[in-house]
């Protein structure tokens, strides 16, 4: 079981309120991702759940029991840190065994869990090494191993992949997703990378300045962003926002169109513009176009075959059914 419920949880550091009172429900077995720009309070929120920070007000319930005042160890949660936080003076085996040693689990049971975790995480050959002798990816696996053997009610991940290089990150991302499918345990994952959020989450919580902007499945957030912030944060490249007369035509203060929802042509279209930069990725071409009224530059995702260069004139047509409308407060209309 791993159901976590936050009721009016608030956090202040001195007089600074980093998290205004918020409610959140994380269901058993869910993969929930907290995403937002740096400083939005997502790590603080995770640390509140972990018990590494005290709440200023409100209650945290884990599996129906009030855990607000419980110390971290008593909450039945396991955490994987950004810096791995392995014990440098212990071998991999001892690192993984540490939480079980603290819980006074019998030696045979410890050995059984260590070997099964090591097998699942491809660490069997490294059990007698020290963390200093491992690569970044291996260290992160040890940190995950240390979390798994506790058989926690939920896993908490604090930006676990940000210290890894790009290629490794993609691999580890899939490993963690697979682990979630296999264990079916609740996972709460903090990241500033919206690609990680989109690919891994069952449910995304978008945070901005300590406030939950929207909660929903990745596609819900992508298709129906509640406000300008979420619209701009979810999706890559980010959504284009058009203001002024063009927006007024749609009875909105601002309209948003995703780069992949704009048709581009060299002959005709709604808007005319000039190519600033064309990024050829092979599969796609991202074109940054200047001269569109109310939006400069506008980014468009075209097919990989599209060959335009700096200075070319292009015509853009947004797909009518994919236009998001926002009012003066930045909230979604309709």
């Amino acid at each position: 079981m791993g159901r976590i419920q936050l009721n009016q949880v608030q956090k202040k550091f001195g007089d600074v309120e980093v998290i205004p009172p918020l409610d959140l429900e994380i269901n058993d077995g869910e993969f929930v991702v907290f995403v937002g720009p740096s400083g939005c309070g997502k790590s603080t929120l995770l640390r509140l759940i972990a018990g590494l920070e005290d709440t200023t007000a409100g209650h945290i319930e884990i599996d129906g029991d009030d855990a607000t005042m419980l110390p971290p160890a008593k909450r039945g949660l396991a955490m994987v840190f950004q810096s791995y936080a392995l014990y440098p003076h212990m071998s991999v085996r001892k690192n993984i065994a540490f939480p079980m040693r603290m819980a006074k689990i019998p030696q045979e049971e410890q050995d059984r869990r260590i070997s099964s975790a090591a097998k699942a995480l491809n660490l069997t050959d490294y059990l007698d090494r020290r963390p200093g002798q491992l690569s970044g990816g291996q260290r992160q696996r040890v940190a995950i191993g240390r979390a798994i053997v506790r058989e926690p009610a939920a896993f908490l991940f604090d930006e676990p992949l940000s210290n890894l290089d790009a290629a490794l990150r993609v691999g580890m991302r899939m490993e963690i997703s697979e682990l979630h499918k296999k264990l079916a345990t609740t996972m709460v994952y903090v990241t500033h990378d919206q690609v990680e959020a989109m690919t891994m989450a069952d449910k995304i919580v978008v945070l901005h300045a300590g406030v939950i902007e929207q909660v929903g499945s990745p596609l819900e957030l992508y298709r129906n962003p509640r406000n300008l912030f979420v619209a701009g944060f979810i999706g890559s490249p980010k959504m284009n926002f058009v203001e002024g007369p063009e927006a007024a035509k749609h009875d909105a203060q601002t309209i948003g169109i995703r780069p992949e929802h704009i048709d581009v042509s060299t002959t005709e279209g709604t808007w005319q513009g000039t190519v600033g930069v064309a990024e050829h990725l092979g599969s796609d071409t991202f074109i940054h176009i200047h001269g569109i009224p109310g939006c400069d530059p506008m980014t468009v995702r075209a097919s990989g075959e599209m060959s335009v260069v700096h200075g070319d004139t292009v015509y853009l047509t947004p797909r009518a059914d994919q236009i998001h409308r926002f009012d003066a407060q930045g909230l979604r209309i309709g």
């Binding site: 972990a50 590494l52 110390p71 971290p72 160890a73 949660l77 396991a78 955490m79 840190f81 950004q82 810096s83 936080a85 392995l86 014990y87 440098p88 003076h89 540490f98 939480p99 603290m102 819980a103 240390r146 506790r150």
Partner: protein, 276 residues
Amino acid sequence: MARAVTTQRKALNTAIAWAIGLLIFFPILWTILTSFKTEAQAIADPPVFLFFDWTLENYAVVQERSNYMRFLWNSVFIAGGSTILGIIIAVPAAWSMAFVPSKRTKDILLWMLSTKMLPAVGVLYPIYLIFIKLGILDSRLGLTVVLMLINLPIIVWMLYTYFKEIPGEILEAARMDGASLRNEILYVLTPMAIPGIASTLLLNFILAWNEAFWTLNLTAAQAAPLTAFIASYSSPEGLFFAKLSAASTMAIAPILILGWFSQKQLVRGLTFGAVK
């Protein structure tokens, strides 16, 4: 060309370093040399440097006249005891200052260090009276406690700087892993800080070993350590230079050997964690 300049410079630097080193070491060398002279040679004018009749007579006399081993044991007991006691108190103190600092932590650290700036003689009278009242004058235990208190600020400071280098996330991980505060300090913090703790132990052992003011004032016959042993050979008339030197050499030999074998740790200790 550039290389030649560098080599010359290096040679010059080495020469200067040796000169300074010898200058600092000279009094110790002179003491050791004097301990092998006769009393007459020890006060000869002009002084004799290396060419004299080497004799072990002073050592024999010193050994005969006083019980060196008893003084040595007292020194080991007092220096070792005060250091261990200090560490036991300082580890939790430094832990809390490094990992759960309050607004006043920096001030407390400075205040603690400021007590080292107080002239010791300023508190001699009250401490002497307390010792009499408690009946611990001339006792090893009393001296151990006093030396521990004298060096505690330095121990806390040193451990604090070492602990500050340990990432807090590792301790948080230990907390998540179910470690109690005691286990966190015992199994995670202390092993990681071993190099720092070792140099702190060493430096404080040496400081306590060399401490003369309190050991001379608070001991008589029973608890007197090697500093008192040396002092017993100094006479205002300066008649026993050779024997005084022999006693000094015997007193500093153990600590000199300890220091020689632990130079690396000591340098780290003395730079207060500034050098990683």
